[in-house]
Amino acid sequence: MKRQRIQFAAALLLAAATAGLLSQLVLGGNDKVKIGNGSVSALARAAAATDALPESVLTYPFAARNFASKRGEGSRLLHLEGTLRLYAVPGKEGMLCLIEVDDAAATSGGACADRHILLTGSIFMADRQEDGSRLVVGLVGDGHTYAEAEGRRVPVESNAFVLRGVAGSSVSVGSPTAAQTIDLGG
């Protein structure tokens, strides 16, 4: 009788553990919407002279710590809008970097993160402007077609987007069939 109870308890434990494992592995265990497989086709296109990062960016400590190579080899110019340029750069240990350079403002910035982020969102930067709004620039994986904030939608081109004058604390990125919300914080 005692043995039967122990067997029953063991069976219950096993069932609970199996259910838990299945919910994590098969059913997701993570409510974040995924788009694409994390690949960035812009990085695979043939290189051009304009893809090289500005020398000033390569001199910052950030470059040595984050880029896969000292010279930022493999970088690609993703977006050019007035004096604003966005680059994607292969990073160390599975990271991918987004670099922004604004010649008129004489500013530059960068964000590097594990490329798995691209499955559920974007590697982004949000810069607070003098009027309190934010300039949001992002790198997204293949499959993303748009970015949107406060009802304004812009297309994703070459795996990048630019949203100006964002007043809220989130933006969304998506494909024709799915959408993801990015919390900008603040």
């Binding site: 910052y60 910035g109 964000a111 993160a113 594990d114 590697i123 930067m125």
Partner: protein
């Protein structure tokens, strides 16, 4: 004899020039690490407010494989905020030396994360 003196002077000049180039940081920039190898709680803040400087650079470095929200920004002694940038993961902001400021960095993820360092330059 004169040739030997000239050579000696040339060598001395070369040594002084070499020392100057090696010891003076590039373009006169001074770097300071103001947060160093510690866990940073959600919204925990690192800062350099010993002396205000005309900053040109601010960086937060979690380490490799970072994927968490971060923020770097600067504040003038009067309390005005400038060069405020939110990022995914490791983050830097380089800009002209417009304002005399203190530097700040923060982990904006919901969990505590190890931050290798936050570094500013002026």
């Amino acid at each position: 004899m004169q040739l030997r003196i000239r050579r000696g002077r040339a060598a001395a000049v070369a040594v002084v020039a070499g020392l100057a180039l090696g010891l003076i940081p590039t373009a006169g920039a001074t770097s300071y690490i103001y947060w160093w190898q510690r866990n940073m709680t959600p919204n925990g803040v690192g800062y350099d407010r010993v002396t205000a400087h005309n900053h040109s650079y601010n960086e937060l470095y979690f380490g490799p494989n970072a994927g968490w929200s971060s923020e770097v920004w600067e504040v003038t002694p009067a309390g005005y905020r400038h060069f405020d940038k939110w990022c995914t993961g490791n983050c830097f902001n380089a800009h002209p030396r417009y304002y005399l400021t203190y530097s700040y960095c923060s982990n904006r993820d919901g969990s505590t994360h190890f931050v290798y360092d936050c570094l500013d330059q002026w």
